[in-house]
């Protein structure tokens, strides 16, 4: 066997190195310097993230089971940024008493899920894909259950676990149909045989596959676990769930649908996705309106955001892919900012209800300012990044120029008004509502502040600095054969 092909997966290898170092330190380092583990992890992962940008390679490995293209590379790099921010945020938390013995596990499990996502992103064979998927989702179940003391944590873990297994069963069933139809699990082989094949079996297979990934993306109606899990899980895990795994899944989803089932686009899955997008955006918004718990609220908002991300998939073109990656990046910074503020406040005062935020601006101007940026960005208000990402995702969707897509976009646009309503509710709580017993002023930990600053800068700059989007478009167009068989 030719080991040189491992060189085509430098990011995975780098990640493994980081993981091993952390693991070794966690196992053998003396107890007294254990507390420096989080910082170490951050440093290592930071170095890795930076190095990422020098390890760009293109090529396939393992007889085409694994492919590394510009797009996958950039996608992983984007995810790394998010993961790094999550790590930085959770330094203080990881050093808290409750975490004393288990902080190592936290980081190791997270790193493992990242590894799984890498595999998902660049796998070109369903076996590898499934392995990646499971690697990405199983450790998260453990992480959701991380709060030993809190009951919600366990309930959330149970719900997540059962739904996850169920959905993977469905997904695998779908795969078995695919295998039964085409006798191969290589993306490329399947893609060619999908052409003008519209057997019911294929339709069921595609539906099951969509359901399987839809679970990770929490698309309606596969989303019902989301709110409970987000609420129950420890906040860093929640933020991780909400952005990183969602981002990875979104990319993988696009690859799967476009590259594998692209030939069935207009006949089969365009309409499935069409319906699912409308349901996702609308129901997500409808649920979000009434939430008072900030984490649940963000959960539903992230559901509707996932719907918007799917607009990039339904566009099924380079602009769509680029806009999707861009949207994920913007979504990472915005959502992490929101979660960061929520997390800081939860850490400080244990308050998680939006009503507790009343008059926050008087006491903690910077936190509320960051939160406001995040809300405006999520709501798609210029000049913040969210506006640009929404605009481009719509643009990508409309590229194909079908009237039906115009209607879809119109529905999505009308939904942005509803979403703006509940985002403004948070802003209102912080800036306008009278403050009888507002949270006292406090100084959040260094890590949190760094993370929030990064996010805030991201929110302001990612949009205006057009070079990022331009770069993403170039990446999307760079030698990808994704859209070859589309019809």
């Amino acid at each position: 066997m030719d080991y040189s092909q491992f060189l085509y997966m430098p990011q995975e290898l780098g990640l493994l190195v980081v993981f091993l170092l952390v693991f070794l330190f966690d196992t053998f380092a003396p107890r007294r310097c254990q507390s420096s583990l989080p910082v170490l992890t951050v440093v290592l992962f930071g170095i890795f993230t930076v190095c990422n940008y020098f390890m760009m390679v293109r090529g396939t490995a393992f007889s085409g089971m694994y492919e590394s293209t510009a797009a996958t590379f950039v996608m992983k790099a984007i995810l790394n940024v998010g993961v790094l921010i999550v790590f930085i945020q959770s330094i203080k938390w990881a050093n808290s008493e409750a975490m004393a013995v288990r902080r190592g596990e936290f980081y190791e499990l997270l790193l493992l899920t990242v590894f799984g996502m890498y595999l998902m992103i660049s796998s070109r064979h369903f076996l590898l894909f499934v392995i990646g998927l499971e690697t990405a989702s199983l450790p998260l179940a453990a992480l959701v259950a991380f709060h030993k003391k809190r009951y919600e944590s366990h309930e959330a873990a149970a719900k997540y676990m059962f739904t996850a297994i169920f959905s993977s069963a469905i997904f695998l069933m779908g795969l078995s149909f695919v295998y039964g139809l085409f006798g191969s699990l290589y993306f490329s082989d399947i893609a060619y045989q999908v052409v003008n094949n519209t057997s019911a079996m294929l339709v069921v297979a595609i539906a099951f596959v969509i359901a399987g990934i839809g679970f990770k993306l929490s698309l309606v109606p596969f989303h019902l676990w989301t709110a409970d899990v987000y609420q129950g899980a420890p906040t860093p895990v929640t933020s991780y769930l909400s952005v990183i795994s969602k981002g990875a899944a979104a990319f993988a989803f696009m690859v799967l649908l476009v590259q594998v089932f692209g030939a069935a686009y207009s006949k089969v899955w365009e309409w499935m996705l069409y319906a699912i997008i409308i349901l996702t955006i609308t129901l997500g918004n409808l649920f979000a309106i009434r939430q008072r718990n900030i984490k649940r609220f963000l959960a539903f908002s992230s559901i509707s955001q996932a719907g918007y991300i799917m607009l990039g998939v339904i566009g099924a073109n380079e602009i769509g892919l680029a806009s999707l990656m861009y949207y994920v990046l913007v979504y990472i910074v915005s959502n992490l900012a929101a979660f960061g503020v929520a997390f800081a406040i939860e850490q400080q005062s244990g308050k998680v209800s939006i009503d507790d935020y009343n008059g926050l601006y008087k006491t903690n101007p910077w936190l509320s300012f960051t939160m406001m940026l995040a809300m405006f960005s999520l709501g798609g208000i210029p000049p913040f990044a969210g506006f640009f990402s929404k605009f481009f995702i719509f643009l990508g969707a409309l590229e194909c120029g079908e009237v039906s897509i115009y209607i879809l976009v119109l529905i999505a646009l009308i939904n942005t008004i509803i979403s703006l309503y509940y985002y403004l509710l948070v802003v209102k709580a912080m800036f306008i509502s009278p403050d009888e017993c507002s949270i006292p002023n406090f100084r959040s930990s260094c890590g949190e502040r760094v993370a929030l600053t990064v996010c805030a800068l991201g929110i302001i700059l990612v949009g205006i600095a057009s070079c990022i989007y331009t770069f993403l478009v170039e990446t999307a167009q760079d030698g990808t054969t994704m859209f070859g068989l589309l019809n």
Partner: protein, 501 residues
């Protein structure tokens, strides 16, 4: 390079103000920064007008001037940061500069959080100026929303009455409008160039390509027109206006009625009409009916209001309806009238709201039934109010008359009977306007003093006098020397209206 273009500084200055305000420690510095910035903007605007006239006089008859230094922004989508102004945008910029200047002084004693107030104020003006100077649909739309969103906090935090409701309603309705607008703009973008050529967001190129298929125009024209029409308070999308104005603080009402609502009219004309002349011609009658309604309708419902701000909000509905009405007449004179009306309505409504704010700040009520005989107590404000009222009911020598007459004459030149009859209907509004203006003036200023406590109140202070006088002078200037403005506007409107000749 774009820095060589003076237009960009209309955006830079407010941003600098924003930064400066962020560093301010106390109210004095805040005021200093605000005044300096506003004055700079005013000076720049006047300089721009001079330059513009100079270039025109020099025989530069390009449709847009100051277009140099366009910067490629989002290369894959061919989105530029492209600037340019014609006569219409120039006068709009001048108007905005005036209102911002007056607004700063009208909100001199803003409390609480003056710093934050002025920061939002600056963001709003950034959006407004950016909208007027850009000729790229994307940047236009971006600045448009930048101008809209600060309203929420400006009303929500510093407003009065049922402010949360009003602020939310205003923001959501306007954003709803811009949702339609976004779809319209995307649609135009995808049909901006004939097959094979690169798509573009640049208004001038789209207009010269004129490639939007007629079938699409039928869909996109209503989208964009309604999108902007919501902000232009077009019936039946005007209901944000009364509540919003009633709850907004003085300066915000000034800015909103004075400048923001103009974005609606300007956009309707610059994007909807200019880029889709065919549909504009075909569908004009629908919107003509709507705006014709809102002209009379607003005036009538102003007659029975008892809250000063509601009265002015409804009169704004009527006057802005006049703007859209004239735009839809699709001829040069009416178009000139529309822009003049935007100017005059902007100034006099700003004046109105400033005075109402000052009166409210003293009497703490806006209910005209609770006030009376204020003329004896605060003669300066009283006289100012009377002048504003006379301007609004179209007294010759003040701006209102010029604008309305141009609109009426222009609209009546339309060859079609339907349009002329509607013009006469619109004319009726001048009587109704007189009715409600005089009703207010009579109840509020004249007669005996209603509330003995009011006798102790004081007249305007220096900064209030300053902002009032600024606006009154502007109103009178337009009223007395209309040809100066109308000639600038006409030469800008003519080439566009050729599309319909």
């Amino acid at each position: 390079m774009i820095w060589s273009n003076i237009l960009i500084y209309f955006v830079i200055i407010p941003l600098l103000m924003l930064g400066g305000l962020a560093l301010c420690k106390n109210i004095k510095q805040v005021r200093a920064v605000a005044v300096v910035g506003a004055t700079a903007l005013m000076a720049l605007a006047i300089y721009l007008v001079v330059e513009f006239l100079g270039l025109r006089a020099a025989g530069n008859d390009a449709e847009m001037l100051f277009t140099e230094g366009a910067v490629m922004w989002f290369e894959p989508l061919n989105i530029h940061l492209a600037l340019g102004v014609d006569g219409i945008s120039v006068v709009m910029i001048l108007l905005s500069a005036f209102i911002v200047f007056a607004g700063v002084f009208a909100s001199w004693k803003m409390d609480p959080l003056p710093k934050e107030f002025f920061m939002w104020f600056c963001l709003l003006s950034t959006g407004v100026f950016g909208f007027f100077i850009s000729i790229d649909m994307f940047t236009m739309f971006m600045f448009y929303e930048v101008a809209l969103i600060p309203m929420y906090l400006l009303i929500g935090v510093w407003g009065s009455g049922n402010k949360m409701y009003s602020a939310m309603k205003l923001t959501l309705m306007l954003m709803g409008g811009s949702a339609f607008l976004m779809l319209g703009i995307l649609g135009i973008y995808f049909h901006s160039a004939p097959a094979g050529q690169p798509l573009t967001m640049n208004i001038l190129e789209i207009a010269s390509n004129n490639a939007v298929p007629h079938s699409w125009q039928y869909f996109l024209f209503p989208m964009t027109f309604v999108g902007f029409g919501v902000l232009g308070a077009m019936f039946p999308f005007h209901t944000w206006s009364p509540d919003g104005h009633a709850s907004a603080p003085t300066a915000v009402s000034m800015l909103h009625a004075g400048v923001l609502m103009k974005l609606g009219g300007y956009g309707c004309f610059r994007i909807a009409i200019f880029l889709m002349p065919y549909a504009a011609n075909e569908l004009a009658w629908i919107f003509l009916t709507l705006t014709g309604i809102s002209v009379v309708y607003g005036a009538f419902s102003a007659c029975v209001q008892t809250d000063l701000k509601y009265i002015n909000a409804y009169s704004s509905v009527s006057h802005c309806g006049m703007v859209l009405f004239a735009i839809l007449m699709l001829n040069t004179t009416a178009m000139t009238g529309a822009v003049l009306q935007m100017l005059s309505h902007g100034l006099m409504t700003a004046l109105f709201f400033a005075l109402i704010g000052m009166i409210y700040g003293r009497t703490h009520t806006r209910d005209i039934r609770k006030m009376g005989g204020l003329m004896q107590i605060m003669p300066f404000l009283g006289v100012g109010y009377v002048i504003a009222g006379l301007a609004s009911l179209g007294l010759p020598g003040l701006s209102g008359f010029v604008a309305e007459m141009t609109i009426f004459v222009g609209s009546f030149q339309h060859a079609d009977m339907f349009h002329r009859v509607f013009t006469i209907v619109a004319c009726c509004s001048i009587v109704i306007t007189a009715v409600y203006i005089l009703r207010v003036v009579g109840k509020l200023l004249f007669g005996a003093v209603q509330d003995e406590h009011h006798r102790t109140l004081t007249d305007a202070e220096w900064h209030e006098r300053l902002s009032t006088v600024t606006l009154i002078l502007a109103v009178a200037a337009i009223g007395c020397f209309p040809n100066f403005f109308s000639s600038i506007i006409t030469e800008a409107a003519e080439p566009i209206m050729k599309l319909f000749a």
